[in-house]
């Protein structure tokens, strides 16, 4: 009976003293400082646990605890813990992203053949100044700025922090600039539009000193763009001496090679999976 009474008295004292409690705001915008009201009295230890933080400091229970804005930059769920002599109390609060002001802008590919429908993709991840994804829908303005043409733009609303568009490449080679804009963020990426596969690949042959000089006409794609220098053109010659092949890179728009010809020879040309015309020539023995 005596022990029951003792326990009851202890409980009453504890209630009267008031165990430490925390009252953080339910929701905070990233990058803002807050104060957390506490109850209780005496020395206590305050802990703040978040995505990128795990801090500990001594405080007085019953006072307001200030939390710096630097500690609350990353969005997510934070746990505030206050431990006093009578135990620990905790409270969770959410840090939400600030206003959108930053974009991670992914544009692919960085090189694209001309006249390729829906080949370019532009994806923008909407973020605040602290790299937090802004998940609520926001309008992102995408624009295409051709080298010598008028700007074309379209707006897309983000979903789950992402907005994206698909674009087709132009018929003319050259760089084009793609932009994405939100808040103060204006990101620009450059896509290089390059000639597509060679079209109407043709070769001609003329006599050099002792060999035949075989060269292509200027190598162009079907839209009339010059196939870039360095692109490999394969020449194949079959004559009495056997077969000969040479992989020659295009230089100044054409590919050329000197081939010795023994008797009658057939010369063919190809670039990648595209084949060109065939020549028949007759050389000296």
């Amino acid at each position: 009976m005596r022990s029951v009474l003792t326990a009851f008295i202890v409980c009453l004292f504890a209630l009267a003293a008031g165990a430490a409690e925390l009252h953080p705001p339910a929701q905070v915008t990233a990058g803002n400082s807050i104060t957390i009201a506490t109850s209780g009295s005496g020395d206590a230890t305050f802990y703040l646990i978040g995505q990128s933080v795990a801090s500990k400091r001594h405080v007085q229970a019953g006072t307001e605890i200030a939390v710096d804005s630097e500690q609350l930059e990353r969005a997510g769920i934070y746990t505030a813990i206050l431990c006093a002599s009578d135990g620990c109390a905790s409270a969770n609060f959410v840090v939400t992203p600030a206003a959108p002001n930053r974009l991670s802008f992914l544009v692919h590919p960085s090189r694209v053949p001309v006249d390729s429908p829906n080949r370019i993709s532009a994806v923008a991840f909407v973020q605040d100044n602290f790299h937090n994804f802004v998940l609520k829908s926001e309008a992102v303005k995408f624009s295409v700025l051709p080298k010598d043409g008028k700007e074309i733009s379209a707006t897309r609303n983000s979903e789950n922090g992402v907005a994206w568009v698909r674009l087709s490449s132009a018929k003319k080679e050259g760089p084009t600039r793609l932009g994405a804009e939100i808040g103060h963020a204006n990101e620009i990426r450059v896509v290089q539009q390059v000639a597509a596969d060679a079209c109407n690949l043709r070769i001609k042959a003329s006599r050099a000193k002792k060999d035949f000089l075989v060269e292509t006409d200027p190598v162009k794609d079907c839209s009339g763009n010059s196939v870039p220098d360095g692109t490999v053109v394969s020449f194949t010659k079959v004559d009495e001496a056997g077969k000969a092949t040479v992989d020659v890179p295009i230089k100044r728009g054409v590919a050329k090679v000197e081939l010795p010809v023994d008797g009658r020879a057939k010369i063919t040309v190809a670039s990648g999976v595209v084949t060109g015309n065939e020549l028949e020539v007759a050389g000296g023995q």
Binding site: Y47, S52, A75, H108, V123, F133, E159, N160, R166
Partner: protein, 196 residues
């Protein structure tokens, strides 16, 4: 009850055969308790060695559809990311984060481990599994956004003292990007839900 059996006062009152029986049963109880401790410890080690359970749903994924290989790699690599993260936060080893994290997620978690070391804290997770829903896969296949509903039992310790313990159900927004031979977690942002 057990505590009373071991008191001298009670032992004096018992008869000898009964006292012998009690002695043996107390030894057996001690052995059983020891076995339990060892077993629990082993199970915990085993749990840490096994990656958490991750279920991937990619039914509403777009604009790119998920490849067979990617649909296997994403849950595997995400599970391994959580396993290494939990280990890094429990043992305060930031190096463990190098394997499956990159970008801002790695930066955040590394900072968290360093501040845990500075404050003498560590965090222990009991992972109840993850329901992972793929919500965006970029047309070029270079980034995937996912939503994870995770069930966790979080225990925060200051030295050897537990200062916080709570079962929680948290929703994360995750972005993963392909690395050389695996998918890496680039962003892990808790976006809602705390109580189970």
């Amino acid at each position: 009850m057990m505590r009373k059996i071991l008191t001298a006062e009670f032992a004096e009152k018992t008869r000898r055969p009964r006292r012998m029986g009690l002695r043996y049963s107390s030894i057996l109880a001690l052995l059983a308790a020891l076995a339990c401790v060892v077993l629990v410890r082993e199970l915990r080690v085993l749990a840490k060695e096994n990656a958490p359970r991750v279920q991937l749903h990619a039914d509403n994924l777009g604009p790119r559809s998920i490849e067979d290989l990617t649909s296997k790699s994403i849950p595997r690599d995400y599970a391994l990311a959580w396993q290494t993260m939990e280990q890094a936060l429990e043992e305060n080893r930031p190096g463990l984060l190098d394997g499956y994290f990159t970008g801002i997620a790695k930066q955040d978690l590394t900072q968290r481990v360093h501040s845990q070391i500075k404050s003498g804290l560590h965090t222990r997770y009991q992972d109840g599994g993850h329901k992972l829903e793929a919500i965006f896969y970029s047309p070029a296949g270079d980034v995937m956004e996912l939503r994870d509903r995770a069930k966790l039992d979080i225990e925060i310790m200051d030295g050897g003292k537990v200062i916080y313990q709570e079962p929680v159900s948290i929703e994360y927004t995750v972005t993963m990007t392909p690395g050389a031979d695996r998918w890496l977690v680039r962003e892990l942002q808790a976006s809602g839900g705390v109580k189970p």
